[in-house]
Amino acid sequence: MKKCVLSIVLLFLVVQFFAAEKYALLITGQAADHGDPIGSWALANPGRKRHQEFWYDLAMLFNMLLRQGYEEENIYVLYGEGFDYDPPGITMPAIYLHPLNGQITDYPADREHLETVLSGLARGNQELGIPQLNDDDFLFIWTFDHGGHEGEGSSVVNLCLMDNEVIWNWEFADMLRQINSQKKVVWMQQCFSCGLIDDIEALH
């Protein structure tokens, strides 16, 4: 009887130790908005330089991931200049805010922080509390920005980050390749995102 209980406890501990974790990385670079929630979608409102729909999609996705059982500390959010879109005076719908009105955004969506987070997931970063992912983990990546490409008809495409920084398709794929995982799911909303398919489709 004792042996049986001990075995069950041991099995439980082993399962816990090797349990797969769910991680997510949400990236929204240019042209993320922090201004008034007045206006409409980018295409319908070309005069505006920044667009709040980037925040709406990101915040809804963050809340959906929480409801799907992702731990908040396992969701890495890079948005705009590094702070949430929460304009004064106006009450935002709850689906666009952190449930406890905490910060959703962890880092600015610039090249330095993107590289830090991706290399952290690949090799671990104790200082920032980013764990090294292992072969059992699941990683969900979502990107939304303006998107760009090298020239007409070119398959060399990029993600648009803040301060006019970009990250090219091969660079992004190379960074993702270094992250261990059981499976990676990449969901892209920016223009020209199909140009990244052949670079990243075989990465787990």
Binding site: D36, I38, N63, L66, R67, Q68, G69, E71, E72, E73, E81, G82, F83, D84, P88, G89, I90, T91, M92, P93, A94, I95, H98, P99, L100, N101, G102, Q103, T105
Partner: protein, 485 residues
Amino acid sequence: MKRLMIVLAYLSVCILLAQSWSQPINVSNQQNIKSKLDFCIDSRGIIHCIWMSGNPIGYQIYYSRSIDGGLTWTTPLQISDIDAYTRYYPKIVADSSGRLFVTYTCTYEGTETIRLKRYNGRVWTPEQTISASQVNSINLALAIDNCDRVYSFWQVYENPIGYKFNYVVIGEDNISQIFSPYSSTLGDNLIYSVVADSIGNLHCSGSRRETPNSIFNACYYRYNISDREWLAPVSMLTQYDAYQNGSDISLNRQGLPLMTWREVLNPNYPLNDRSQFSQFNGQVWSNPITISEDPWYQTMVVDANNIVHLVQVEKFYIGPRQIKNLVYYTSDGWEGEIITNSTNIATFPELRLYNNTLYLVYLDSISASVADIYFMKRVLPDTSINDELNIDPTIISSLSANPNPFRESVEINYKLNSGGPVNLGIFNIRGQLVKTLSKEYKNPGTYTVLWDGSNEHGNSVSNGIYYCRIQVDNKIKTIKLLLVK
């Protein structure tokens, strides 16, 4: 004489015990995602509490009540209709017969409407849409007056005029037309908290912005019931953008309004705030005073002795990790008392006064996904006994700085009415500790500490705003310092 001393000592202990907050009681007991909440106390003393709770689709509205003063609570009941919609920002009031009125925002496929739910003493009625002709409506406030007139307010955006509040008056069997009192006024006019006085006038705290590029001024709105007219809004002296979360209004014993609001000094990350307070003397509003730096939500009531009781969320640090706890202030010295012991975020406080007792409902969390609704109460002291015994309830009698602004060094002066472990530190506008000035037990008395504008490593810090915060046990006080080299 000895007997008198014993009686006085016994009375002092009783008063001190009565003045402390009760242990938190878990209202919701559902460990999942939760967010904003509200509660009311009906004429029989039954406490009714509602909150947003997450499920895989979105948020729904849950309800629980306590018939024994908050000791025990009924099993949470989902009162919003069961479908694929998501609901949030619930508000609740009770009329003189104990009937309940609940409003909230309902979202489906990007369209927001305001829904009403009633409880007639036996059953909850099906949801009713009260903003039928308007989409993208966000629930703001719910109020009831002495004649059981229920007012429901919500936010709309009217292109190209701006953000406005609209409202309806809810009767026993009917709902009025939708009123838009400032629909023809350019700019944004919004309210966040409403209270009715004894004759049915409405007093509202809100904000106003005249043009899209100007700041949101904290603003007082008033509705006169006798001539059914909204008066011209009164903007408070507001230096920075007034935020919606943390705006509250209450009436004193004479029926005069008092307002508190949150201003954001630094609109860039990390947001840095201050809570402001102003009161109306019948003719003018007082110049706003700053209660504390860096708060979040405030909620406020005024007792029968015109003492203001305020609870707000403030940031603290466990090592590098930021947490948030609730801090309780009274206008009797504005000394803060930390009243929760959260390991993550305690937030969304709602404070009510009933039978000389403060009732507080709030959310405490272990993580964003694991949170519960809690209840606490505090019996207020009989101030006549307090005065006779000459008890000063504050521990930190004063905290000041001289000179301020300062160039090279500043003298921090503080006075303690009773001894305790003192933690005196300088914080930057990000809320990060710059330097610890004192961390030791101090006896009652007056103390002076010099800060030479250096950090823990002895390096000079840059020009700008800093905060000096003293904490003795769970009591805190903060002042702002300005370093100009």
